[in-house]
Symmetry: C2
Subunit: 338 residues, 2 copies
DNA sequence: TTGTAAGCGTTATCAA
DNA sequence: TTGATAACGCTTACAA
């Protein structure tokens, strides 16, 4: 069929001398009452015409696209990428297609993408919320579109959410430092926003854990600045006499900036400064010294998010819940005894 | 409209007391002959009903989805990710949607994804070819589906292809080493396959460049192994007396393994071994020592690939060509004078 | 066991 | 300036 037009189900039906509906049955593997001869004729016609079905038409008719949308706030985080890869794997196994959109933490972009995917009639959404976009999310809920959140909790809304146990992650870091004799422990993070669950929870986990170890939190050792200014910010903050002996970095992107700072200032890790990173990175284990890190359970999170969404889509009703999973501590070389 | 069913164009038409076709005109901004009053009524009905168009139906009718598919062989390469991000940006500006699929270098997966995206009626493909899948590509060409290749050349096919000037990349590395007095220069790469344009071209560029500098290539200094075995492989190969003083790594993933090897063997960079990496990485500039690297022009490549494809889709005919772009040399700290 | 016919939500042609 | 009507390619009652 090197004809211009792609063949349709009608072409196959005509070619096989059989009706459209029977061909449709065949394509959907409803073979119950189908004669062998019929099947064979259809099979041959399909091959001969090089027919392949038009998914759009099917979706339009069935009001179901077997496609889900993933809206991710920041694809630059290795964590997001890994969660998404897992979701894709789970979905592919069930022949569900996945469309990924990256919002760069921009609520307008987020809105635009949600609308676009709705126009495309996706069957459901997995969203890493960009921030304060509750109107949009509520709208989705009103329309009863299946929805799962990842990484960030929107307390105002009843939506299943799956994320790392962030307080536990901070606790792991602090405990490790304490075990190695550190008391002056600092915490580095991008600017706090209440909507950013991971960093707020990690910071609160940090405070709680310090407390639990009977250490006081020195507010001068909490470092928060935009990543683009982080190095300069740390330089000026580290001018003072009293400095922390140990630092928790709040995520992979923050870690990179802290390492850049240490490199520029020739601060020797861990001799002068111990570090634990929340988030592992590809080069972390190979860095000099290898970065002690806390790895988020991206795989578990992705798999859970996917199965929650697919359950919702298939109307296996569940009441929305919040699912937290434990991170893993990776002992390496950036923490010194003090 | 908290009704179950989502409103359609007919609902809007009824609500506004106007025909479907006029509403359709309105939606497509064909306002030439439209009365102000009509426009207003439509606008209000749309708002009131919270109508949003069904893209599927439109695509079915127009035989055009305003969607392209990207098939990428290995999303783990930072290069691929950056190219894709650029393509997405270009397309978003023109309201073209993008669906990305990762094949893990698996030709069967590639075939499956191409078929899926065809079923979804995408308007064109940008493919980072997984390997020897020429039948599939030829089929696409036969069906006159717009197609652009990135990163790998399929010499048997007449398809526009855009990629890094890989020979130049190798040349940059060798020249830099020579300038610093190195003669015993090695090259590390994953297993050679003729379909993998980057590594074959980088290696041939390496050989040519050595020759141009009147240096002989020591075949014992060409290291090729699967990434998973690379560290062990290098360990055994480095048992011998004569070793290179400098190493070119063929891409980012290879660099990581070489660094791992050096770390495990306590080989001091650059004192004992100089390194230039083809491909920059997020942590490269922060590594100790900072990795001298050659950065691929991912942005230029992505933009060119997107515009070539969009031109093809819009039937601005062009004869297929091969477009190579120059990489950038980033002088850092992993090359020593010898 | 297979066929007929209506309909999914749009757009496009032509007529009014 | 707007409206009727037929398509787009498929599924699905229901009929035969």
């Amino acid at each position: 069929m090197k004809n211009g037009r792609r063949p349709t189900i009608s072409d196959v039906a005509n070619h096989a001398g059989i009706s459209k509906s029977t061909v449709s049955q065949y394509l959907n593997e409803r073979f119950e009452y189908m004669g062998e001869e019929t099947k064979k004729r259809i099979r041959e016609s399909i091959k001969e015409l090089e027919y392949s079905p038009n998914f759009l038409a099917k979706s339009l008719k069935q009001k179901k696209t077997y496609t889900i949308g993933i809206i991710v706030a920041n694809i630059l985080h290795g964590f997001s990428t890994r969660v998404i890869r897992t979701i894709e794997d789970v979905c592919n196994e069930q022949n569900i297609h996945v469309i990924v959109c990256n919002t760069d933490e921009d609520v307008n972009k987020e809105q635009k993408y949600v609308e676009m995917l709705q126009a495309k009639q996706v069957d459901g959404f997995i969203i890493f919320p960009a921030g304060d976009n509750n109107e949009l999310y509520r709208e989705l809920l009103n329309q009863e579109i299946p929805l799962v959140f990842v990484d960030r909790i929107i307390p105002e809304l009843q939506v299943s959410t799956v994320l790392t146990d962030n307080e536990q992650a901070a606790e792991m870091a602090v405990s490790h430092f304490v075990e190695y004799g550190h008391k002056d422990i600092g915490f580095v993070l991008p600017p706090m926003k209440s909507t950013m669950t991971p960093r707020t929870e990690r910071l609160s986990g940090f405070r709680k854990s310090m407390h639990r170890h009977s250490l006081s939190v020195n507010e001068d050792f909490i470092y928060s600045a935009p990543l683009t200014d982080m190095v300069g910010y740390l330089k000026s903050r580290f001018q003072t006499a009293r400095k922390p002996t140990a630092l928790v970095t709040s995520n992979d992107l923050t870690l990179v900036e802290v390492l850049r700072f240490c490199k520029e200032q020739a601060i020797v890790i861990p001799d002068e400064l111990s570090i634990v990173s929340i988030d592992d990175m590809p080069l972390a284990s190979v860095y000099n010294p290898a970065i002690t890190a806390i790895d988020q359970p991206a795989f578990t999170i992705g798999a859970k998010a996917a199965s929650l969404l697919l359950d919702e889509i298939n109307e296996r009703e569940k009441t929305p819940g919040i699912y937290r999973f434990s991170p893993t501590f990776l002992k390496r070389e950036t923490v010194n005894r003090t």
